[in-house]
Subunit: 206 residues, 2 copies
């Protein structure tokens, strides 16, 4: 195919692409990302750092880097984070070197980022394309049901999650794609279509 | 999903989208388009007008509107064509009303357009999104082999087709996506991913 392209022209998939998956509580980001990673060897997950406590089913270095408040302060001070945000009193951030090292190897990177942090990834001007995907449950009713079903929290924490979710939905216009997660299988197929299409985008090379 | 969107925000797939499929001789445009249409009821084909003779396997009104030079002149004079081009001495054009009527019904339209005409579809400012897909064989060698395999033409006509193909490839940067047609099945799946992704694009509504 290369011999058919004019000089200086290529497709986006020849280099690494950063796919940012964000969305409110109950959107199913983690499940969608796990499925994507298990099906596409060119995709790699960028692990975020957080100060929130580890949940029983989570693994340090796989789901998150669980760090202390002091360690998080140091990451910020060193400029080691592409972006960071506060969510329900805990901080979440995206380590820069981890993302860049993979993109430079030509891998695509999937990031699970808080809604308010997603825009910052693009603004960071990584030198690689950034695709912002907003994942939503099929309706507000279903969002409430999913957050409630987790059941690990007080009514106050739940109300707070819903308030934040409402606020996060206002940020949809800052994203490139909206993916509805009505069934996991369908949602994964939708994000896979986005990934496949983005790799075929025609670009001018440097 | 509608109840989750901020006012004035929607996804591109709520309205009609025009998907323009172009590419050099031997790219396999017609086969890819036939397969797409048979698999997606939201897609509809916009039939072009041409002054070239009908091939034995072609049907008037299905593959093309086969018209005389005078009739083509009249279409141009009436402003009935979105774009038209000359290819190997014959004229090809896209009837405007046919495309717009379908888009306004909310259908997506697939257009099989000459490479030099594709850009004009976007420039026509239809008021609907236009997605430009450039289809190519996997290599120049394979392009030559495919054009040769058709075998319906003189060596001169063949050389002319190859010369035109070379020129058409220079227009790749004007397109949005590059799709390699190494196998029909794969090529169709690639265009389907583009269609699916484009429908999920977040847009501000009027």
């Amino acid at each position: 195919m290369k011999d058919l392209l004019p000089p200086g022209v290529g497709i986006q998939g020849e280099r690494g692409i950063a796919f940012v998956i964000a969305g409110p509580s109950g959107a199913g980001k983690s499940s969608v990302i796990s499925a994507l990673l298990s099906r596409d060897p060119k995709l790699s997950f960028s692990v975020s750092a957080t100060t929130r406590p580890r949940r029983p089913d989570e693994v340090h270095g796989r789901d998150y880097y669980f760090v202390s408040e002091d360690e998080f302060d140091r990451l910020i001070a060193e400029g080691a984070l592409l972006e960071w945000t506060v969510y329900q009193g805990h901080r979440y951030g995206t380590p820069k070197t981890e993302v860049l090292a993979r993109l430079e190897k030509g891998l695509d990177v999937v990031l699970n980022v808080e809604v308010r942090g997603a825009r910052a990834i693009r603004a960071a001007n990584l030198g690689f394309p950034v695709v912002l995907v907003f994942l939503v449950p099929p309706s507000w009713e279903e969002l409430v049901a999913r957050v409630r079903r987790r059941g690990t929290e007080s009514e106050e924490a739940l109300a707070e999650r819903l308030r934040i979710a409402r606020e996060e939905l206002q940020h949809i216009p800052e994203f490139d794609y909206l993916v509805v997660n009505d069934s996991l299988e369908e949602a994964v197929a939708r994000v896979e279509a986005i990934i496949k299409a983005e790799r075929m985008k025609i670009v001018r090379c440097a």
